[in-house]
Symmetry: D2
């Protein structure tokens, strides 16, 4: 957490800009080539995102919530494979925050080896039964828990 | 479909007791041993179940439905592996129907080779926001579309 | 297929530049918000890729092949949700072909509604037991079956 | 671990009969009804199995191994749902060990609530390129690390 500036020390303690998830590769995540299937990397990034929210004192989907967070754009570059039982980490940080969206950037590392880099942009939506999702502003109680990571955190 | 007896010819045409799904193995369904992961067989059986319902003129999850069909027991025996791009079929039939439950039996075949046999028992539940699921009788408009397959159908 | 030019009519018939997969959303592909999980879109794109190869007379992973096709970069933009039992199509085409890589672009459509657009870049590698994957030139018998789609095909 | 008898104390320390995995429900494991998809329970059981092997000093799939462990029969009974972010545990133990097979029994608990009970029977096979899998005796270095759990361990 490296936010600083006008919001002062209190914000520094209360706002979260990044998180690291530690994880091990499971058998059912491999494909027939013996490496983690490329689509699974997005599940790893999402798992890190939700653990990040918990670390910030939030759930991304509390019971009966009318707020949802669908993706609007994601991307991943693959630099090396992950194999069965590999231990790795997902470093997720907030790269941008607008009125209605959050953008995360992620780096997957196995030890010192960079395995993949990715981004996920999500939009805050209101979900009501029988109606299409509608983009809305980030609720204050959520916005106030996060801040954009500084470039030095990359 | 082989139901017969007191309900007569009309029931014979309107009630469904079995269905066959044709499918091809996808890459993301394989594990690192190059064979379909054992958990995926249950997805195949479910896919056959839902196609069976569509063939009977129903959706198992129409929009805004308050009825759900969680599993209460499933099992599978594996007789041979499925490999990448294998074509196979899932033969699903209704093995039992009680007031609140449906039990399916399934056979997976690749050509003449029996790949797996399985069962799934589901219970009809009412789902209401903020309340636990509660078992209820099968709705008449669903019950009337199905019947138990005869032993000869196996 | 729209390739034309120096290679003449014969090439036009033998080379493939695009393919359309027709598909239905399965229950196990949904998330708790009732929409297809964002990671699943990459499985749809891959499924279209492999069907595309079959349509070109090839398998992307024939038994005992020493050639593999890991992803080096993928991306997806989401324009609307997919729901249970939705029928949709994945239009995949070859956007670029280099000595060692293939890049696909994909559009997912539900009727006239554009659901998502994506790209996948894969690299041809030689896979040998106990050795790391090594990038190699596309084999001629594969390269000769494909060509880049024209801009008008988008 | 409760093995005792002729093999003495040393065996008591070296042989493993059971293991408990602690886990949290991930978003991508839920289905559209907001509960963990029934097929995912088998992935939980497998995850516990592999962690159990690691706790016994083994990997179920070391690099270049010619031994594999396909399932021959599995089953699960569901007693209650798991929801997003639920913490639960998988208690796995060895229920039977024959010359060529291992049978596990599993209980999933969320606090004091029994969520599911399951079994998995696996067979030890030799896997050689271009040949079908062939059942073989459990290798001694694996057999010697495990023992059947006593009834009191259930």
């Amino acid at each position: 957490m490296s936010h600083s500036g006008a919001h002062g020390v209190r914000d520094d303690r209360d706002r979260h800009s990044q998180f690291t998830l530690h994880r091990r590769v499971q058998w059912y995540e491999l494909d027939s080539a013996g490496i983690v299937h490329f689509s699974t990397y997005f599940r790893y990034m999402e798992e890190a995102e939700h653990a990040f929210w918990r670390a910030a004192g939030l759930s991304i989907a509390p019971p009966d919530s009318e707020i949802g967070w669908p993706r609007i754009a994601v991307a991943c570059e693959y630099h090396g494979p992950l194999h069965f039982e590999d231990e790795f980490e997902v470093r997720i940080r907030i790269a941008a925050m607008t009125d209605k969206t959050l953008r995360y950037s992620c780096v997957l590392m196995r030890g010192e080896k960079k395995i993949a880099t990715g981004t996920m942009t999500t939009v805050c939506v209101r979900v009501q039964p029988g109606q299409p999702m509608r983009a809305v502003s980030l609720p204050d109680d959520i916005r106030s828990r996060f801040c954009v990571a500084s470039a030095a955190d990359v």
